[in-house]
């Protein structure tokens, strides 16, 4: 059983909803990155999505774009990201980490080399925003190495594809709660509950729901019907003004604590 599977199994047997924070690697500070990852776990994270900065983040809204730009300006690359995961793993062997990003950085790193180095560092899966199921043959070396390929489903996904996604899902299936970019708009949770229930019934993997979750109330509403809740832009936004690594950890804690409490209270 993989680390991701173990984590979701534990959540299920405890009757809890998973909390999945997203942060951009290297933001707000490269030096404080490992401390921030531990801080997320201390604040209640069950799994961490770590964004790999990319120069052309087509599917991301302004908050994550700017975080990406800040990290790139500090010279953050894929090798740094893997080094931070390896450092995190020295004292945390249980919290799964999924790298989220775009293909070109891995393409240039080399798929086979990346697969080997990512497993070695302790990465558990990848979510490649610009790699739908139809093109995922390029990720075969990653799957061979044991990395989960996290697939996305969205409100625009047609039935036929959805069935294929549910069948191919590994680690967890990420349901994008509305058509749009990260960090946009408010959710109307009533609309998506039924859809997610249908997907959960069919998916081979647990379903995490993200896009538009920004506070305890929206997290709690989503937590009613999802296996896990992903929270990204709102957290990245909160971290962006941090004055120091300690400040970033404090901000993550203050931001996530009420969300964790809301998820646990249901």
């Amino acid at each position: 059983m993989s680390r991701i599977e173990r984590r979701f199994a534990a959540l299920k047997s405890a009757g809890r909803t998973g909390l999945v924070p997203f942060v951009t690697a290297g933001d707000p500070s490269p030096d404080g990155m490992v401390a921030l990852l531990h801080g997320l776990v201390a604040a209640g994270a069950d799994l961490i999505e770590l964004g790999v900065p990319f120069s052309d983040p087509m599917a991301d809204g302004p908050v994550i774009q700017h975080a990406s730009e800040r990290a790139l300006a500090k010279g953050v690359g894929l090798a740094n990201v893997l080094a931070w995961v390896a450092a995190f793993r020295e004292t945390d062997a249980e919290t799964p980490i999924v790298l989220m990003g775009y293909l070109n950085p891995i393409e240039m790193y080399g798929y086979a080399a990346f697969a080997e180095d990512a497993v070695e560092a302790g990465v558990d899966g990848v979510l490649m925003v610009d790699c739908p199921l139809e093109e995922s043959h390029v990720l075969e070396p990653l799957r061979q190495a044991g990395l989960a390929q996290i697939l996305l489903a969205s409100p625009t996904t047609a039935e036929g594809r959805l069935a294929r996604l549910c069948e191919a899902a590994s680690g967890f299936l990420y349901y994008v709660s509305f058509a749009g970019i990260t960090g946009a708009a408010q959710l109307s949770t009533g609309d998506i509950a039924e859809r997610v229930a249908g997907i959960r019934a069919r998916s081979k993997a647990p379903v995490a729901v993200g896009f538009g979750v920004r506070d305890a109330a929206s997290a709690r509403a989503i937590g009613e019907f999802a296996d896990a809740v992903v929270i990204g832009s709102a957290l990245v936004d909160r971290l962006s003004g941090a004055a120091s690594a300690e400040d970033a950890v404090g901000r993550a804690r203050d931001f996530l604590a009420p969300i964790r409490a809301a998820l646990d209270a249901r």
């Binding site: 900065p53 990319f54 120069s55 052309d56 983040p57 087509m58 599917a59 809204g61 302004p62 774009q65 700017h66 730009e69 790139l72 690359g77 894929l78 090798a79 775009y102 293909l103 070109n104 950085p105 891995i106 393409e107 240039m108 790193y109 925003v129 610009d130 790699c131 739908p132 139809e134 093109e135 697939l151 996305l152 489903a153 969205s154 409100p155 625009t156 996904t157 047609a158 594809r161 994008v176 058509a179 749009g180 970019i181 946009a184």
Partner: protein, 403 residues
């Protein structure tokens, strides 16, 4: 080298040109792209649609554009005969209108009421605003803040045509960032919005659709050259940024194996300086803007900022079909520097009385190089893809002249 039996048989059902192309986009766009592919597949074989498109191309765009034997230029160069396909004579002054007229008709058939587009130099933005005005569709054009500054006249032209021009301030604030922003808009507004991509890049079906709408350039030119000279050209050339005018010219000739095909990329200040936009000549296969193709990126896989005196060639990727043609050995791609393009611009102006766009001046420079190497009875066909009026300020500024 791969043996390709029929170059007109691509892309395949997955939208791939060999290993290039494909659909590398976020999940949310998969269904809208599938809908577009289905609609386009139906329309491209529909006689009524084809007739409608032909009518627009004839009476609105002004096709066919002539093929012109540049005799004084040829004599000056002292080599082969140089022949120009005059896409600069189209309505709005460039080949871009061939594609926007076609896509706007597709948009209307799909019931979309809002057009979005990205633009670099502003030519595609103007061509999109033009067709939107004509069909009464709302039009939003995304343009990098840096490009808005260097192409003020085209920005104003778009506004005169009723389009909203949205400055893009992310990343390098140029064409690639405008494309990112247009994609974000499309993801968010897919139900009523049609995204008119201006070049043969992006996810399938765009590289195919944009090529199909521009392929009339090569079909006409092939017939015209045969009629005027009684034979096919020895070599054909066009400038390559994203590559829409080039694929437009090349496509009809791909199976004429004796016709040599040369694409001229922007070598900027020279490929060795790193200040260029020569994705095929100096890049590597990667993934950008929804397709697999040659891209210019650094060791970390970050897309680099490009340079060219011509904003329309200033793009770090290239259409996947060009990547395919390069690897198959069917087309060669070479760099033309800013200085070579400007020299060609002046030479064409003084010998033929034609102001070429800076983009097209790269093709002219390449045609001159090729003509020098060939005997006098040989034929070099170059795509004069656009007129240079938009570049007059850039050229004056570069030469220290205040207008």
């Amino acid at each position: 080298m791969t043996e390709i039996a029929d170059f007109h048989a691509w892309p395949d059902a997955q939208g791939r040109f060999g290993e290039y192309g494909g659909i590398y986009v976020a999940e949310t766009l998969m269904e809208p792209l599938a809908e577009l592919t289905a609609a386009y597949e139906k329309l491209r074989n529909d006689p009524a649609f084809i007739a409608e498109l032909d009518r627009d191309l004839k009476y609105y765009v002004g096709r066919p554009s002539p093929v012109y034997h540049a005799e004084r230029l040829s004599r000056h160069v002292g080599g082969a005969r140089i022949v120009l396909k005059r896409e600069d004579l189209n309505h709005t002054g460039a080949h871009k209108i061939n594609n926007t007229v076609g896509q706007a008709l597709v948009a209307r058939h799909m019931g979309k009421t809002r057009i979005i587009a990205e633009t670099g130099a502003g030519q595609h933005g103007v061509a999109s605003a033009t067709v939107a005005a004509r069909l009464g569709l709302k039009c939003v054009v995304y343009m990098g803040a840096v490009d808005i500054e260097r192409q003020k006249i085209n920005v104003y032209r778009m506004r005169l045509l009723g389009a909203e021009v949205v400055p893009v301030t992310s990343g390098s604030k140029t064409l690639k960032d405008a494309l990112n922003e247009a994609m974000r808009d499309w993801v968010t507004n897919v139900t009523d919005t049609f995204y008119i991509i201006g070049t043969v890049a992006g996810p399938h079906p765009y590289p195919q659709m944009v090529r199909d709408f521009n392929a009339i350039v090569g079909r006409e030119a092939r017939e015209q050259v045969l009629e005027q000279f009684g034979r096919l050209p020895d070599v054909i050339t066009a400038c390559v940024g994203g590559g829409s005018n080039a694929i437009g010219l090349f496509h009809a000739f791909l199976n004429d194996r004796d016709v040599r095909i040369v694409g001229a990329e922007a070598a900027g200040e020279g490929i060795a300086t790193g200040h260029h936009a020569a994705s095929l000549a100096a890049g590597k296969p990667g993934v950008l803007h929804g397709n697999r193709t040659y891209v210019l990126s650094d060791a970390n896989g970050q897309i680099v900022e490009t340079h060219s005196v011509s904003a329309g060639l200033d793009y770090p990727g290239v259409g996947p079909e060009h990547a395919f043609l390069k690897d198959a050995g069917r087309a060669e791609y070479v760099g033309i520097t800013d200085d070579e393009a400007l020299e060609a611009f002046h030479l064409l102006a003084r010998t033929e009385g034609i102001l070429a766009a800076l983009e097209s001046s790269h093709a002219i420079a390449q045609a001159i190089k090729l003509a020098r190497e060939l005997p006098k009875d040989a034929l070099v066909l170059a795509n004069l893809s656009g007129r240079g009026d938009k570049d007059v300020h850039t050229i004056a500024a570069r030469e220290g002249i205040e207008l």
